[in-house]
């Protein structure tokens, strides 16, 4: 019972992080000049809400976290410099910023998994890390499709 309660506090903390991420993306979206960038940040905000819903479901059934597949990690975010946040960001920079944030979130959970006191907590943190990695990988795929244009 105690373990279940502790898993719940992990999930509640994660839900809070998703809410903060949602607020960050939503606030940023409102300030963007480029419509496409605005929409990209709105989409990232929606994605965070999706994560929040998923985590709420995990509160009811923590085993959901175990079933998350381990995504392929191409480490594009790791190889990309974080762009500065500005109102006139280009779409590729917006995606670079978002994938860096997802990278940080995944690293945060992986670090917790390493220091977790028992296997159940480790699994929970790894599951959360996989959720963030999956989001990072999806944003990286979008970034790669537009971030390296030919120019003349």
């Amino acid at each position: 019972m105690k373990e279940s309660m502790d898993i719940n506090s992990i999930l509640n903390a994660a839900i809070k992080r998703e809410e903060e991420a949602y607020k960050f993306y939503k606030d940023v979206a409102e300030r963007m000049d480029n419509k496409a960038v605005r929409e990209a940040f709105q989409q990232f905000a929606e994605d965070e809400l999706g994560h929040k819903d998923f985590l709420k479901n995990c509160l009811k059934d923590p085993s959901l976290l175990k079933n998350l597949p381990v995504p392929k990690d191409y480490k594009v975010a790791e190889a990309t410099e974080a762009p500065l946040l500005s109102v006139d960001m280009k779409p590729a920079d917006a995606m670079a910023l978002a994938m860096k944030k997802e990278q940080e979130a995944a690293e945060f959970y992986l670090k917790l998994a390493k220091t977790a006191v028992n296997s159940q907590y480790q699994e929970a943190f790894r599951g959360l890390a996989n959720m963030e990695l999956d989001h990072k990988t999806r944003i990286e795929a979008l970034f790669v499709g537009i971030g390296y244009p030919e120019v003349f």
Binding site: V37, V76, P91, G145, I146, P149, F152
Partner: protein
């Protein structure tokens, strides 16, 4: 290419325009033929009846240089019938109202008058494009080698956005590059305005990055000249020295007599090449270079695939790799470029690369990778613009209007001439005419002329004819054939003794400075009757 070559075999519809791919890109044409065998619709739009038209559901024989009117007319019809991909347009483009308005100026009736395609045929092509779920567009130099080449490409981009054919497999906008490694040359920064991987020379951050990586200061942040400007400036002293690597400039630039004048005006002209050719005649210094079968390195093909090439033959005595020649030249000028091998140079490039950063010699030992490949873990990218995303965010429709070629037929020069390439020879044939087999298969240049025109001028296949433009004249053998439409002639630039570029027009696209090789005006006169009937012409000229 936004997409990959092999994806073409799974396309539902392939729209080929300005591309004689059977001869210019035979490997790509293989996949197109595979798609046709599987039931794909193939629409070939070309002023000539190229070999690929035998595989086509429709051959649309447009007038030379009328592409914009034709495509805008198709878009007009697509909108009119509600065949546009409205979801894609709404979600992934910036200015959909503009394109709807712009193409209204091209109802099919008007477009038909300009491009010469019957109205019913245009409507049918629009229907096929508009009602097929996904279509790939392939184009080549027939689109880009016009004074409106940039607008031609933009018009095709408009079409693919209207149809929602970007960001998905077996679709996209697919330029088939003119040579096997022209993509690689551009990727490596053989352009006047960018370093490797298209990093702009006028971006202070890029300059800082390169200076730090190479341990130098004072890199120029000024874009250089494009090739036509480089050559033009030789005449007023703006270009004094030209270092030319493996480009037979005299034979490849339009208006050969003018090119020679420009090269003669240089104070120093250095050429690196593998055989003597028309251009080496004007060089003050010739450096004997390695050929492709002797050199180590990489080629990057039209689908962005970086592939290893290896030296298979021992080079002739005295020849050196291009990089070695540059290194030695640098040494004598007091600059150590620190080039030690092709592999080391590649690694040096990769350290500061973006889209190539994940591609190492080891990773492509057996099979190439397609850029963007930004990390060592990344598998490469088969198609770009996933989910309809673009570098600027949403796709921007561009306004394009038809303009005629810079030079059109008139009373004095009544024929249009277009030029291109043949299966049997490569570029200026510096290599292929040194191959006994290929030279036997196609030993001399021909001028295609339609039977109606030939009959009027009393010309038969095999007769020697003079083709003359305002810039020069060539004498070559006539080939009377329906491959070219009435009023249109065609030849190549492979043969120095009868090179199409003696007579082509040095009018250029204002953005890319690509010459209008595909359209000029000529007159034709018979010089000498054939001594023997040319029964083999058909076999020789048509693959």
């Amino acid at each position: 290419m936004t997409n990959s070559i092999q994806e073409l075999k799974d396309a539902e519809l392939i729209f080929v325009i300005g591309s004689n791919m059977t001869e210019g890109h035979p490997v790509v044409s293989y996949y197109v033929k595979q798609a046709v065998k599987k039931g794909a619709t193939l629409i070939v739009t070309d002023p000539r009846k190229t070999d690929l038209t035998r595989w086509a559901t429709h051959h649309v024989q447009i007038k030379l240089g009328s592409d914009i009117a034709y495509i805008n007319g198709l878009m007009n019809e697509i909108f009119k019938n509600g065949w546009a991909d409205e979801t894609f347009i709404k979600e992934h483009t910036e200015n959909p109202d503009d394109i709807r308005k712009w193409v209204q100026a091209y109802p099919v009736e008007r477009a038909s008058e300009i491009c010469g395609v019957p109205v019913d045929k245009m409507k049918e092509i629009a229907r096929l494009l508009g009602t097929t779920k996904s279509a790939a567009v392939c184009y080549t130099l027939g689109i880009t080698e016009h004074i409106c080449g940039t607008d031609n490409v933009k018009t095709l981009a408009n079409l693919q956005m209207v149809l929602g054919n970007l960001g998905r497999p077996s679709a996209g906008l697919n330029p088939l590059r003119g040579q096997n490694n022209v993509q690689g040359a551009c990727d490596m920064g053989a352009l006047p305005n960018v370093f490797h991987c298209y990093q702009p020379v006028d971006d202070p951050k890029v300059i800082e990055k390169m200076e730090k990586a190479w341990g130098v200061t004072g890199l120029s942040n000024k874009p250089g000249y494009k090739m036509p400007t480089m050559l033009r400036k030789a005449l007023d002293g703006g270009t004094k020295i030209l270092y030319c690597i493996a480009d037979n400039t005299v034979q490849t630039e339009p208006h050969m007599a003018h090119t020679i004048k420009e090269l003669k005006a240089l104070e120093l002209f250095i050429v690196c090449d593998i055989f003597p050719n028309l251009t080496t005649q004007y060089a003050h210094v010739i450096f004997p270079d390695y050929a492709w079968g002797e050199e180590e390195g990489t080629f990057s093909n039209t689908e962005r695939r970086v592939q290893r090439v290896r030296g298979a033959l021992k080079p002739p005595a005295g020849c050196r790799p291009s990089w070695w020649i540059l290194q030695e030249l640098g040494n004598r000028l007091g600059v150590d470029l620190r080039f030690t091998s092709s592999r080391a140079i590649y690694e040096d490039m990769r350290r500061t690369a973006t889209s190539y950063a994940g591609i190492t010699y080891d990773r492509i030992e057996e099979q190439g990778l397609q850029w963007p490949c930004p990390t060592l873990e990344h598998p490469g990218t088969t198609f770009l613009h996933k989910d309809g995303n673009f570098s600027r965010g949403k796709g921007l429709f561009s306004k394009t209007d038809w303009v005629p070629p810079a030079e059109v037929p008139d009373a004095e020069y009544p024929f249009a001439l277009s030029t291109g390439r043949r299966l049997w020879h490569y570029h200026t044939a510096t290599q292929t005419r040194n191959s006994v087999g290929l030279e036997n298969l196609f030993p001399e240049e021909l001028l295609e002329i339609h039977p109606q025109d030939a009959a009027r001028l009393g010309i038969k296949s095999g007769d020697m004819v003079k083709a003359k433009s305002r810039r020069g004249e060539i004498v070559l053998k006539a080939w009377v054939t329906e491959r070219s439409a009435p009023g249109l002639c065609w030849t190549s630039f492979h043969f120095e003794e009868a090179c199409g570029n003696v007579i082509t027009n040095d009018a250029f696209d204002p953005v890319t400075e690509t010459a209008e090789y595909k359209a000029c005006a000529i007159k034709i006169e018979k010089v000498k009757s054939a001594e023997t009937p040319m029964i083999d012409l058909h076999r020789q000229a048509r693959p």
